[in-house]
Assembly symmetry: C2
């Protein structure tokens, strides 16, 4: 999505270790009209699917998912990150290992909000090693819900998450696909 690539080039800041900060519009300050445009694109990509719920994970996914759920006319669900092992029986739960932060946590979702009747579109701000997204797919599997695919704002193609998840037969649509970046050389998008 050209508009998003331009926004990333204008406002994104690349740090050593291939870290991209996009806090000016995506995950600290939210550029609401811009997010609506991203949602419109996700809707165009998945509008053939009979989506009943949009599912994301706290925190940054919420502002991505809100306008998508609004566009589809369905509820937004967000899984919660839980660092304690003390989980209620009324929750689905999946363990996520975050390589970036060097720790693991559970993503949890109350059973009453997702069932075998649901058709789910997953959304998130970033896709890198794919562990968070795999956690969401796991939660849907526990619910017996059908996953139509994942809508991602920024995919780091140089990490393995996108490949792994597509190899499982799950459709992944990323609006910007970064093949390389560094503080000096800038950002290179997949063509």
């Amino acid at each position: 999505m050209k508009l998003l690539e331009e926004k990333i080039l204008q406002e994104g800041v690349v740090y050593p270790g291939k870290v991209l900060k996009v806090g000016s519009f995506l995950n600290h300050q939210i550029d609401v009209p811009f997010m609506s445009k991203l949602a419109e694109e996700f809707y165009r990509l998945f509008e053939e699917d009979p989506v009943t719920k949009v599912l994301t994970v706290e925190t940054s996914g919420i502002a991505v998912g809100y306008p998508v759920a609004e566009r589809f006319g369905v509820p937004l669900l967000f899984a919660k990150k839980n660092r304690s092992a003390n989980l209620a029986n009324d929750c689905y739960s999946a363990n996520v290992v975050s390589y970036t932060h060097g720790r693991s946590y559970d993503v949890v979702l109350e059973r009453q909000f997702l069932t075998g009747e649901d058709t789910v579109l997953l959304v998130d701000d970033f896709l890198a090693n794919g562990c968070a997204l795999e956690g969401l797919i796991d939660l849907c599997g526990q619910a017996g819900a059908r996953v139509v695919g994942a809508g991602i704002v920024i995919e780091k193609v140089f990490q393995e998450g996108g490949r792994k998840i597509r190899e499982r037969g799950i459709r992944v649509e990323s609006l910007a696909r970064i093949v390389d970046m560094d503080p000096e050389g800038g950002i290179t998008f997949a063509s």
Copy 2:
């Protein structure tokens, strides 16, 4: 707001210790069309004010703030909760003591996103002891930004937060004001 009180009575579940769960529409599953109606009411209450930013705190505040920021046509900012003491110099930071969870944390906000030029509407899902809201007010003070008030979805009037903050001369508008609740007796709203 009658519509909100009815929704709380229909879908809210009261647990011992005056805990209200409203995960079906406010802070786990998000009822997006309903949130738009709350945003419309916040807009009606604060539309005279020259709001330049809507500020909330992760996580649950994001879905409350998104449609409010959209309605005002301004960016949504969310402060991040930080449990580590290791803060960057480019952030405002305020310590928040959570009596509910028996711990303290910092709320942080990058300086570049809030300045003395800004006029801020604060929003959050709950107001109870008021500590999170006081943290946000503190961040605005550090930025030299003007606070026009706070828009709260549900205020627990039997806790002291609302009184404390109003006594500081800050306008607080809560769409539902709960004076008492318990699992047997149900929920009583302020008239």
